[in-house]
Subunit: 353 residues, 2 copies
């Protein structure tokens, strides 16, 4: 045939760069491995020993349930791309998943990522994988595997998308489900580190519409607006799990919510039984300045609370008699918790006052 031959590389997919990449991510993955992870690089799947140190595991888990979560970072990744600051986006990715997972009391075991990109540039994307590994170490889970997809026809030049999956384990009899919350329970909030990883389609629209300079100095620590917006999502795993461990017999933490898209109203509603309302007093905390800044760019106050976390990344419902002890335990674990409201009888609604 005289026809010009097309290779996969001609079509925009570089199998060799992929081989370089696979070797590059091995280091990041290994940095997260405990002895429970099988050394199985190059295999088709990642293996994780469930009962390494079997006696210990069986003592902790008499009837274990696995917990699975899937989430992405949304268009925060586009802001990171625009500012060429990818070193926090992997922490966001892990946080979005493991913070969901711990709401039922589960301990994260391992994580897998999906990284889709226009062009596989191992140099540039190494920062992303390193930050995913950093997030995994902070959450105490192994980066067991993942998939990198080079799709020039699906993604614009320079663009990437990021999704992640976390697997954990919880003793079934101690899993925290919505049935435990009841009137009188107190709502304890843990501060967010800023916007976290939700609402960025709106954030970016506001910035563009108002022609905002992302390089302007924003806070007293000398950070730019871009840096403040890209602050990685806080990972609440260690403080929440260490507090849960203080109350093994009594069920005093009755519900937990990770505050993501939908804000406090939608996410706190997810832990309410049908006959309970949550009453949250907005005056009980001051949202960080970044939220007032965004609101000034043109958002109604109610919409702010419906889209953003407003300074609260995680909420625990607790029995009032144990409030003091739980606050102490959270503080000891490095948190700065505060009470934002309580549960009363109602219809499964969140009242923001």
């Amino acid at each position: 045939m005289s026809k010009e031959k097309l290779t996969y590389r001609d079509a925009g997919v570089d199998i060799d760069a992929n081989a370089v990449w696979v070797n590059r991510i091995r280091t990041a993955m290994t940095s997260t491995f405990s002895p429970r992870v099988w050394r199985n690089h190059g295999g088709f799947a990642g293996l994780f020993r469930l009962d390494y140190a079997e006696t210990l595991f069986r003592k902790e888990y008499r009837s274990a349930s696995l917990v699975g979560c899937a989430d992405g970072v949304g268009t925060k990744v586009l802001l990171a791309v625009e500012l060429n600051r990818m070193e926090g986006i992997g922490i966001d990715l892990v946080a979005m998943n493991v913070n969901d997972m711990i709401t039922c009391g589960a301990e994260p075991l391992f994580f897998l990522d999906y990284l889709a990109t226009h062009k596989l540039d191992p140099q540039r994307l190494a920062v992303v994988i390193d930050s995913i590994a950093a997030g995994c170490r902070e959450a105490g889970c192994a980066l067991l595997g993942g998939e990198t997809a080079e799709m020039p026809d699906l993604y614009h030049e320079g663009h990437i998308d990021l999704a992640g999956f976390a697997v954990g384990v919880v003793e079934s009899s101690r899993a925290v489900t919505r049935k435990l919350v009841r009137p009188g329970d107190c709502l304890v909030a843990l501060p967010s580190s800023g916007v976290h990883s939700n609402g960025f389609t709106l954030v970016r629209r506001l910035l563009k519409q108002n022609r905002v300079d992302l390089h302007q100095r924003f806070d007293e620590a000398g950070r730019t607006l871009g840096e403040v917006l890209l602050t990685p999502t806080r990972i609440y795993v260690r403080s929440v799990l260490s507090t849960l461990k203080q109350y093994r017999r009594k069920r005093v933490i009755t519900g937990m919510a990770h505050i993501t898209g939908g804000g406090l109203p939608e996410n706190v509603a997810r832990i309410l039984p049908p006959a309970c309302n949550a009453v949250i007093d907005r005056k009980s905390w001051t949202p960080p300045p970044v939220f007032a800044f965004l609101q000034e760019l043109g958002v109604e106050a109610d919409e702010m609370y419906r889209v953003f976390n407003m300074g609260i990344g995680y909420v625990l419902a607790v029995r009032p008699a144990f409030l003091g002890g739980i606050l102490r335990n959270l503080r000891r674990a490095g948190e700065d918790p505060f009470v934002i409201g309580k549960i009363k009888s109602g219809h499964g609604l969140v009242e923001l006052r």
Copy 2:
């Protein structure tokens, strides 16, 4: 403030459509549930009982390892979008993951998906979720959860991306790892259903470059070229696991490879110990017509084998003394297996002859 207020919906993200969507996918998910899945809709995470019917589980698994896989469908999704035929793409997604998983002998337990889209159109995307659920039922795993992300700034109008993640379990002492393959082992192939879910960036380039009509009738069954290309990836879970179960004590299936990107050379290489080569005889089978068609559009023969599965979706290395029995077991499970080569001493290479 006189400034026009921007809502999240104005920015292109429709929180209400998302609520409709969440209800819509509940049906699809529930269709995959076994009694081991917690009914926890609306929660932050999916829960899966590890030891439902505990005695049975402990009998099967004395020292269990969890297995995790992550994969996407690549740009096959763009062809499905172009032809507005999404009813197979979810089966592809599940197949890409569970076929990887069973290579180590693991039984799939649950699946989570990531569906990213320009615009959340519940009507249109329901087909995708339904097909993911169909794939999960065929693979015998639960669709435990997932994430749908609406990102108008990251995806072109009409475009979607799909990634998935599967979790399974394997008895550690029976896990199939590369150490078992040795010279003399036979290579048994299971037919693919066509191109499966790899190489579509090249396929689409070839079609475009040659201005090929996707609606032309392609095969004797009256299917169009588009339909042939979109044939869902075969799921090998039931036939492979039922065959493995016939050999619980003896380790007679010594390695398994899912033939994806990189074709036979790269994927069979993944099951070879450093001192073994795989010799594959191309004359032992005839690739389906779709591969000759693609090659004619302008691809070198060697590149074809490096990018496409060439009609073979899954390869098992087996001890020669058990070849007959394994072929019989695979046939009984509905497969049409054939021998394509064998293992000899070497350097971890695949020789395509």
